[in-house]
């Protein structure tokens, strides 16, 4: 068998027709891609621009979040709620109110303490008086003089009444 004849046999080989039909249809209906070098360059340019814009925006928002624009003419938005000078005045006003409240409280407490002190003295006195009268009564006969010792002990109700006056 001559090798030239064998090569000629190879030349007669054809692909399967069904495969060819299917492959052709698949190829021609597939989307084309692979843009030209120029189009690729344009795409690269726009992607770079997109990244740059994203970085700038991110930086802007970071500065904004850190309050970087406050007090400058570059402040983009005036917040009506956030007013530093107003807040300071309000804080000072709060301080004054606190002082006055303290004063009132002190006056009340000083009044209350003096009243309580007087009541305590009176109770002590009455206690002592009571103790003295009981010892006297034990040494003398009752009715000899026809006089009875007057009790000076304050009850709790009387003490509270004295405090409220």
């Amino acid at each position: 068998m001559k090798i030239s004849d064998l090569f000629a046999q190879f030349r007669r080989i054809e692909p399967d027709p069904h495969y060819t039909e299917h492959s052709r249809r698949e190829v021609l209906t597939s989307p084309q891609h692979g843009p030209t070098i120029r189009a690729q360059g344009v795409m690269v340019f726009f992607r770079t621009l997109e990244s740059g814009v994203a970085l700038v925006l991110a930086g802007f928002f970071i500065v904004l979040a850190m309050g970087g624009f406050s007090g400058t003419k570059l402040e983009p938005v005036q917040y009506a709620v956030i007013d530093p000078s107003g807040l300071q005045a309000e804080a000072q006003a709060i301080d004054i109110q606190i002082k006055l409240a303290n004063l009132d409280y002190s006056e009340v407490t000083s009044t209350m303490s003096s009243t309580a002190a007087r009541a305590a003295v009176m109770m002590r006195a009455s206690t002592l008086a009571g103790a003295a009268s009981s010892s006297t009564a034990s040494s003398t006969a009752p009715g000899a003089n026809g006089s009875s010792t007057a009790s000076t002990t304050l009850t709790v109700d009387q003490a509270l009444q004295a405090l409220s006056q």
Partner: protein
């Protein structure tokens, strides 16, 4: 290929470059059998040859917008894609450890309509295919284009983007290698294989 044919093909290629699918379809119809045979002789198996051939034309269609005519025929671009696809195919199969150049499919070389091809012919075809498959890729390309596709030296040089001198040298070495591989086969004779180099004939 005549100059008129070249001009006709160039206009078809230009339309395909602009996205004309019917123009690319015409190119597909013309070159698909050649690319299929080119790949089949290299890989030896019909299914693999079909897959690779499909990939070649799919890749060509998807990237035809970037094709620029640089003095070589459109087929040279297709052969270049086919060679790369075959290399990728072997690389992938080597990675999977299942590559074997001896795994051929004799029925892949059955000629359509020739059901009475003898077993001897089929075996001889398989042996030649196997011997060609063992050659260096450059030698394979020259053997296939020169002796299977029956291209002239000039056409082969244009298709492979080489000089005619390089093609001559590769062909000479390829045939020497083939003789060495098939020399012990009594059923295969290298006589009367005539090769044209310019105006002189050289018998192998």
């Amino acid at each position: 290929m005549m100059n008129g044919e070249n001009d006709n093909e160039r206009s078809v290629v230009q339309r395909a470059v602009k996205g004309d699918s019917s123009a690319f379809g015409a190119l597909y119809d013309r070159y698909q059998p050649m690319i299929y045979r080119f790949v089949l002789i290299k890989v030896g198996r019909r299914e693999e040859a079909e897959d690779i051939t499909h990939q070649v034309f799919l890749s060509a269609w998807q990237n035809v917008a970037g094709y620029r005519h640089r003095g070589h025929p459109f087929s040279s671009w297709l052969y270049q894609i086919a060679r790369n696809q075959v290399i990728d195919h072997y690389r992938e199969h080597a990675r999977r450890h299942d590559v074997s150049i001896d795994k051929t499919d004799p029925e892949a070389f059955a000629v359509a309509g020739d059901h009475e091809a003898s077993l001897g012919t089929k075996l001889a075809l398989e042996k030649v295919r196997s011997a060609v498959g063992r050659l260096k890729p450059d030698y394979q390309d020259v053997i296939i284009l020169r002796f299977v596709e029956d291209m002239s030296l000039k056409e082969t040089a244009a298709a492979l983007r080489k000089t005619e001198g390089a093609i001559k040298l590769a062909q000479h070495r390829a045939i020497r290698e083939l003789k060495r591989a098939l020399g012990d086969e009594p059923s295969i004779s290298f006589d009367s294989l005539t090769v044209s180099f310019d105006d002189s004939d050289e018998d192998l």
